[in-house]
């Protein structure tokens, strides 16, 4: 049901507890290929991505984009679904044919129910409907670039700070005390524990935890999050789950 979840493993778990926010990356810059024919929009995306320390290469059409994607190495590719000469799905198909596993995020037009299914079928990794908030795109690019790191073997235990998740016993401990969660709350917390220090948007939670690929009118995620935070953070020395204004949430061990 949730391919994103099963493929992902805790790339960096919390024991390092280094501050790791998207903009304070110390290692070399992430390289990103943006294949987008809307030049005005592309211009803004490139600018904003560079502000977040991404090294961005832009290509305005499908054929050129594919050439760039195959000749250079990128951490993430963001490709529009509809492009001149060669569409986004064809680019992914060609890359996968060549055993190129570079994560690809597809930007798709509005109101196309099955585009996501088709995109994932040909080997796309994530999918975003235009128009989107930049923060949403950034969060997803972050998630994809981390996913690209070599996967550790399947774990049975997730640890972050003093919070510990036993995936087999479905048990949560914090600071030696057991925390009772419903099955869904457990799933929600697991989603965060597998992506520590990563900004998680509400849409990502709807997709990853509830398998809903559309945005409901009411903001139902916040109520669930506040319940989870009540269980996980209330009565402990410091909160682990933080709100990121206008974007979503992050599991972070702040001083």
């Amino acid at each position: 049901m949730q391919p994103a979840l099963s493929k992902t493993s805790p790339v960096r778990s919390g024991e390092a507890s280094t501050k790791l926010t998207p903009s304070s990356r110390v290692s070399e810059a992430m390289r990103l290929l943006l294949i987008e024919d809307d030049l005005q929009a592309a211009e803004y995306l490139i600018k904003s991505l560079r502000e977040h320390d991404y090294e961005v290469v832009h290509s305005p059409d499908g054929r050129d984009g594919l050439a760039k994607a195959t000749s250079e190495r990128f951490d993430v590719i963001v490709a529009d679904r509809q492009l001149p000469h060669l569409d986004g799905l064809a680019i992914i198909a060609k890359l996968r044919e060549k055993q190129d596993r570079t994560p690809v995020l597809i930007l798709s037009a509005l109101g196309t129910v099955d585009d996501r299914v088709h995109g994932l079928k040909v080997g796309g990794d994530d999918y975003l409907t235009k128009p989107f908030a930049f923060a949403e795109l950034l969060a997803r690019i972050e998630a994809l670039s981390r996913r690209a790191a070599p996967a550790a073997q399947e774990v049975t235990r997730l640890k972050f700070g003093d919070l510990e998740l036993d995936l087999l016993a479905r048990r949560v401990m914090r600071d030696g005390k057991q925390i009772d969660l419903t099955a869904k709350e457990f799933q929600l917390l697991e989603y965060f524990m597998r992506r520590p220090n990563q900004i998680i948007t509400r849409t990502m939670l709807l997709e990853g935890v509830w398998n809903l690929h559309f945005d409901p009118q009411t903001n139902i995620i916040d109520v669930h999050m506040s319940r989870l935070r009540n269980s996980v953070d209330k009565g402990f020395s410091k909160p682990l789950i933080h709100t990121v204004r206008g974007t979503g949430y992050v599991l972070k061990d702040e001083q």
Binding site: D38, L110, V113, F134, H224
Partner: protein, 464 residues
Amino acid sequence: MSSSQFRLSASRVALLYVLIFSAGISSVLVAVYFLTARVLDREVDVIIQAEVTGLVEDYRRGGLLQLIDTLNRRADSWGRTGAVYLLADSSGNRIGGNIARWPNEFASSEGHEWVEFEIDASEHGGIVTHPVRAHLFRLPDGVRLLVGTDILERTRLASRLRNAMLWGTGLCVTLAALVSMGYSRGVRRRVSSIAATCENIMRGDLTQRLKIEGERDEFDELSSTVNHMLDRLQQQTEVLRTTFDSAAHDLRAPLYRARVRIEEALQHADMATSARATMEATLSELDRVQRTMGTLLQIAQAEGHGNELEMELVDLTALGRELTDLYQPEASERNLTLSFSGTDAVKLRGNQQLLAQALVNLLENALKYVPAGGHIDVAVSQTEGNAVLEVADNGPGIPEADRQRVLQPFMRLERDRQQAGSGLGLSLIAAVMRLHRATIELLDNQPGLKVRWVFGRDSVIRDS
């Protein structure tokens, strides 16, 4: 819609045709038979009457002796004309004539009477029974006279005529039945083929056309007219779709750029708080426009491109439970009771995301309209092979007169005008139901609204 409920019509017409045809044919033949038989009878009677008149004349002129003489002279008439005579005294003893004795069955006969009896005659070394028709009457001095004639030929003719009539009627009825059976089968075949094509067209494939069989009959004429209509319809739909698609596309790009630009502007901190608030409000308005457009496009896709959508196995019970759970905290925040009932998996072929979207729309409607303290009950069940999902609440409900109207895009109840919302929620649900060939009913929950989805047995997947 199945065509089985209409299947009777063609055969009913054919049956009626056979009945009317048979009644007509048999009444003509029966009339011919009876008329012919009567003519033959009359002919015999006229001959006998003429003989009687002659014999009575003899009797009046020469008395009994003259009559006996005449009868004796005509004794051989049986072989020639088939005429029979008998003159007998009052106790039935023969006085003259060409038959042996007065027929027993008429021994007590008084006065005038027409009778029919049988005579055995030896012919060609065998005995042949001849039917005879005769006139009996009594002469003034108590002597009785029988004048008759052999009617074997007439009887044979009548029976041949009767047989011909029966065979003729039978043959005609059989032929008519065969012809009309063939006709009704042909009609049924063409109608089924037209119905099947129409079903496909209704499911969104406007490229299909009715088959022209080249028989230049009414069906071909009808098919060709319908095909012309479909051409026209397809053309219009195509125009509408391209207009809609390009409008959507042309709106998408500026919408996307507008959003991008406002976001970009918002990133720069050097901005008055009021300006920032205005821009943030504009951004959320843009998102509302985007949502409305997205929903419209989804409706269009569900209605028009239904065949292209991926159908997968969906467990309606699991979906109902999951989404009820998702809205549970929201419901308790609003002091509403949200419950789910349904235990066994109810599996059907459907589009998971569209069904989830439809149920989310229903739940959000209920959350929006049911006042605090109310309850919302979601139930999934399988009854008589159909999958049924119900969302019932005790909110304000929808007046009966408006229930069909609210399923159409942008139709909202007067009392809800102030509420936020696009007026597309229910019409998306209706489109999704049509795509799944399911029905949607808005019912009175007394008080409140009960929305019922019924998925036909064709979409339900039974565990094998």
